[in-house]
Symmetry: C2
DNA sequence: TCTCATATCGATACACTGTATTTCTCCCTT
DNA sequence: AAGGGAGAAATACAGTGTATCGATATGAGA
């Protein structure tokens, strides 16, 4: 690789904005997880010096906030279904799908209040779906409850998915036989209910489990709405 | 601080075990959050060299796993209430209280499968509470749903609490008037439902909100149990 | 058009991180 | 008493987030 092969470096600094920075950071995170996102690497991907980013963000945490907000744009449904139940379901599933596309989202979900424009828009969509169907306090409680559920469920799903990938075993195999630790623990007899669950339970796929729990929670919300 | 004031360093290396290591790590995390936990600092607190710890754990992540499991010992109820509903409620509240005592727990909750002895014991307790009240699959779904809820709810609560501390404003004040960003966003009129919630909603304390949502979810579980 | 001021970008610097590897020291066995 | 082996400590490395500072390039003013 001689001088002649290499292009001259750009004389003008490459133009930058938050959008480009966030896109680069998301690309890095999609490829290598959250810990692959470093200020230096993001800057390098943009042909800029690391310190340059600090004109646009003042802390790495803020970069994460921007990334989360950016993904919330994917979560926001293009058009709001009329049915409140369907609206909340769509929000939950969109969030889950976003987390499957961007697994690092699971690490950040629920970790900080989402105050970016897209985050607020998602909250607005959730509140709007229930608007008028009950007093405002009930509506708030409903939104909080549903989103607490799917936040937790998504985190667990991704955590399990990573564990499966790391061990190369499906959750089932790994609990059943090949996971030395768990097998040993179950064999002690100290966890009879857990053993029964592992050995007698049918293992449903993650999406079904997610949907089932979601429907239960939505049922609960429905019950509170009808009785204001 | 002259030589004469300082005691001689111990000639024999201080004895170590996982328990001591985890206790030191938890103490550090309680004082300064998760990011205050570094291998060097944990080791220093034990009068040991950093590398010593790697005889007991093989990665820092494993230290976090041990910390989480240790806290699960606080979560486990000393005696199981007969009522399934009460049992799950206690589990949820104990988890919440543990997270209030150890805020760093919120950062880790749901992040990885909890396979330590105490983590398994907590899961066992949850499953045992519902054992026999429905088919095993329903029971599993119920436990998953409830724990997804309280995991998510606790994370949000801690996230809000930190935000309030950081700004010095209560969530209410901060949304209402003093939070420049949120105020500005609400003033745009793009978030009518959100604005209504902020201005017309009564702000309940975190515990009430937690309990309310939990009861809803438990209602949903109850509904599924009675109809097997 | 030339000079100076100001803003911005990049380089350097610092204190720290997790962890691999090497060096040393002390104890036990022969 | 000597040798060997285990385990602790020191060193080393490749990174990290971010403060600070020096150079540079661009705009304004004369």
């Amino acid at each position: 690789m001689t001088v002649w092969d290499r292009p001259e470096p750009p004389t003008h600094p490459v133009p930058l904005d938050r959008e480009r920075i966030v896109a680069a950071a998301i690309a890095l995170a999609d490829e290598g997880g959250l810990e692959a996102v470093s200020v230096r690497k993001v800057a390098a991907r943009l042909n800029a010096g690391p310190m340059r980013l600090y004109g646009y963000i003042s802390t790495k945490q803020e970069l994460f906030d921007l990334m989360v907000d950016e993904v919330h744009a994917e979560i926001l449904p293009e058009e709001q279904p009329g049915d409140w139940r369907e609206a909340l379901r769509v929000l939950a599933h969109h969030t889950r799908q976003a987390a499957l596309r961007h697994e690092w989202l699971a690490d950040l979900l629920g970790g900080r209040p989402t105050l970016g424009p897209n985050g607020l828009a998602v909250t607005e969509a959730a509140l709007a779906a229930l608007d008028g169907l009950a007093d405002i306090d009930t509506v708030m409680r409903a939104v909080e409850t549903v989103s607490a559920y799917f936040t937790g469920a998504i985190r667990r799903e991704i955590a399990n998915l990573r564990a499966e990938r790391a061990t190369g075993l499906s959750k089932r195999d790994w609990q059943r036989a090949s996971g030395p630790h768990v097998t040993r623990m179950l064999a002690t007899g100290r966890f009879p209910a857990l053993a029964k669950a592992v050995y007698d339970g049918t293992d449903v796929d993650a999406e079904t489990s997610f949907t089932t729990g979601l429907d239960w929670v939505l049922d609960a919300v429905a019950a509170k709405l009808t009785r204001p």
